[in-house]
Amino acid sequence: MAVSLCAEPFDPWLTLAQHAASLRKGDHGACASFIGTMRDTNLGDAVQSLTLEHYPEMTQHYLESLTDQAVNRWQLNHSLIIHRYGQILPGDTIVLIAAWSAHRAEAFEACRYMIEELKARAPFWKKEITQNGERWLHDAPSS
């Protein structure tokens, strides 16, 4: 089980490949993964970059407890949560979630649970930088 906060761009597929390679072959039958990526438009505006603020001590603590919740609820061989913070550009991976299990239902449900809970509760805040200036996403009308 791994949780990581990341200030620099990372390659989500390479990261997934490395984690998959670290698992014993033949143990898991399923891996469900989710990658959230920065888009270059939002709410009809071109977005040049994103500043992702977070509450470092709480983020780490929250994501670890989220992992524990998933592990307690589903039989997982491995799980992964990686989240960027700081300056982010279009095309950058913002979040990577993955769950390995014997069977697909557990892998899918754990992966979906972790991203939905993270979106609802993890202390991150996005500020978009557009041609018209900056805006906090939590102040913007939801899409």
């Binding site: 509450y55 979040v95 202390p123 991150f124 805040w125 996005k126 939590h138």
Partner: protein, 77 residues
């Protein structure tokens, strides 16, 4: 009583403060911490709070040494 208070994102901009220490006054719950820390600024709708890095509600009690954080709805992921 000593409390460490933090504000994040738009709340840090609105209050002009990211971090402060409250000393002396006895405060019994999170709402009282907000009022003291912001000199009774109105609480923006949907403001969230945490005590010692765990989600909390505004009625939750605070204790000496706690870190109390205020932040807007989260938008990560």
């Amino acid at each position: 009583m000593q409390l460490n208070v933090k504000f994040f994102a738009s709340l840090a901009e609105q209050t002009g403060t990211r971090q402060m220490t409250l000393r002396g006054t006895h405060l019994s719950n999170v709402l009282e911490v907000w009022n003291q820390a912001t000199a009774e600024k109105p609480l923006p709708q949907n403001t969230l709070c945490a005590i010692n890095c765990v989600h909390a509600s505004f009625k939750d009690p605070v204790h000496d040494g706690d870190e109390v954080a205020f932040f807007p709805p989260v938008t990560g992921g």
